[in-house]
Structures are given as C-alpha cells and as structure tokens.
Symmetry: C2
Subunit: 162 residues, 2 copies
DNA sequence: TGCCAATAGTTGACGCGACAACCGTCCCCG
DNA sequence: CGGGGACGGTTGTCGCGTCAACTATTGGCA
C-alpha cells in the first residue's frame, strides 16, 4: 500500500496545495472579520441562506452546502441567532428537523459584507490567474472533490446545476 | 471598490477552491491521527526537521517552512517535546534563538508515518488528477501563492530550489 | 398496531490556533 | 559604550471545531 513516493511534479503540486490550504483561510477570515465582524464560514452560511427560497434551509441541507458537520453548524447558527442574523424554527414537514431563516438584519449583513469580500477574493485569489487558469482550476477542483467528497456531500455547493 | 461580481467561470473555480480548503485538512488529519497519532501539521513539522541538516532548525525558520505563526509552532513543539519526538536547545550562534532537533524517536515516527501518508495523498488527491492536471496545479499554485503569500514567507517550502 | 433502526439536531468537554502581552538578547546610532 | 528599537521566543486567554453522548421523531416491517 505504498511502494513509491511522489515524483517531482507531484510533489511540487502537492506542496503548493498544502500551502494554499494553510494560508487561504486566514486571508479570508481576517478581511471579513475586520470589515464585517463575520468569520468566513459565518459569511458562507448567511450567503447560502440568502440564495435559498424563503431564505430558509433545513440544518442538514445547510450543513451539506457549507461542507460542515452538523454539530459545527449547530454551534454557528446558535451564535448567529443570538446576534439576530438568523432565526430557527421547527420544520412543519418533519418534527425532527429545524429550519434556519435569514432575518432582515442577516440579509443586511450579507449585503454589506459582499462587496468587500468579493473584492478581496478577486485581489488575492482569482485576480492572480489567467482566464485559462480559472477554467483549469474549476476542472481540477472537480477531479479533486470527486476524491475528497465521494459521497457528494457538497454537490449542492460546487455543482448547483446537477 | 467593487462594481462587479465574479462571472460564472470564476465562481465555479472559487466555490471548488473553498470546498477543497474545507475538506482537505480533515482528510489528512484523520488518516494521520488514526494511523500515526499525529496531526497533519505535526507531521509536517517532523518531516521538515527530518530533511534539515543535523535534523535541526531554528524556530523562526521552521515556522516559515510550515506556514505557521511562531506562537502556533511554539505550542506544537512543546507538545512534541513532551512526547519525546523533538528536543529544544539554545542556539549557539544567537542567545535569543531556540533550535529544535528531531530525536531518534521522532525520526522513527516520521519513517513509520510516511508510507501511509503518501498513500493517502495519492489515493485522495494526486491520484485523481491526470499528469497534465498535476502540472497545471503546480503552476496555478504558484500564481495563487504569489498573492496569498506576497512576502514569500513560505518560499522555502513550496519552492525549495530558489 | 407496535417496535426498532435510522435520521435530525443539540449539547458539553476537550484540543488546537490566534492574538496580545511579555521577557531576554542583539545591534546600531549617538 | 550606553540606550533604544528591533528581533526571537514563550506563555495565557479566548473562540471555534470535533467527537461522543444524548433526546426526539420517523418510517419500515412484523
């Protein structure tokens, strides 16, 4: 189950991928935290709700769309609810389930945060790539996610058209 | 400072990149934690030391090579020292500095962990890509890191030949 | 109908990383 | 050669994410 190492090209790609996953979260978090008082993950949660019908999603669905475990989401939503950005209520269709809905304040927070966030993404990530590289990244990403997320837990997020 | 959103290609690439940075750490951590009792970051620290002359590096240098802040590294090295995998001693050249050296047990831990880790990387990451995509990832990675790490803090890690 | 496994979600404890405050050493400029 | 700013590192606190345990509801199958 081993027998061989990574060759030079593979190692180069691998080391860069590691470095990116170490550095990217910090870049996203610090801008959003500073300018909008939100962590990147909190922003993603609000953004997903903002695009959903009724601005409402079931916890499990929201967790899948944000690549998070249910406990993580539960903690985050509780904090967002305490800040008045989100509200929870029992799902009428299934008494086990909980729905989360974006409040007006939550909508306002997303709208306020989005431009700076997009500018940051463009400045620090997408802006450094050629259009051809952007296309390559999307295809690469699909191939990687097929392995990283074989259950397709995140399909809703990264392949909304399926 | 905004005025425009991401277009469809950019959004596709961006969403995939986000998903990868959320999922990859868990995949790496859980395999190493289970099979070797190490977090991925601890493994990287040991691996960097194992490749250094005398298996020894100064804290600051080790922090740069592992994309970490100094406080983070300090905590991690203390734990590794308590487990006997690493030892710290004052740098003879500079009384302010501390050197970390891999112990025999630490070397053994890296050697024991490496095959499973490499297999995991191949199985879950590199193995899903074509050789052409591996090359693209390396180039893409350079372009992204030029923005994410403009100071070249990690240069030593991802471009060892410079 | 009644039972039991599976599903949906919450909670509490624990560990790790970020941040800020701090100490000791070095170096350079006056 | 002496004082101050910069450098190198450690420590403590706090917040967040994971894991495990738990409750409640559902749905299928006898």
């Amino acid at each position: 189950m081993d027998a061989f190492w990574l060759d030079a090209d593979e190692m180069a790609a691998w080391l860069r991928l590691i470095a990116i996953t170490e550095l990217l979260p910090g870049v996203l978090d610090s801008q959003l935290r500073r300018d909008a008082g939100l962590s990147h993950y909190e922003y993603v949660v609000l953004a997903m709700l903002s695009e959903a019908p009724e601005r409402t999603l079931q916890m499990t669905s929201l967790a899948q769309r944000t690549s998070a475990t249910l406990p993580r989401l539960s903690h985050v939503v509780r904090r967002l609810e305490e800040r008045g950005l989100v509200e929870r209520f029992p799902c009428p269709k299934d008494a086990r389930a909980t729905n989360s809905r974006l409040t007006a304040a939550g909508w306002g927070a997303v709208v306020a945060a989005a431009p700076g966030h997009v500018a940051n993404v463009r400045k620090n990530v997408i802006g450094g790539l050629t259009p051809e590289q952007v296309r390559q990244l999307a295809e690469l990403g699909d191939a990687l996610l097929a392995r990283l997320d074989p259950q397709g837990r995140m399909t809703a997020l990264y392949r909304p058209a399926d």
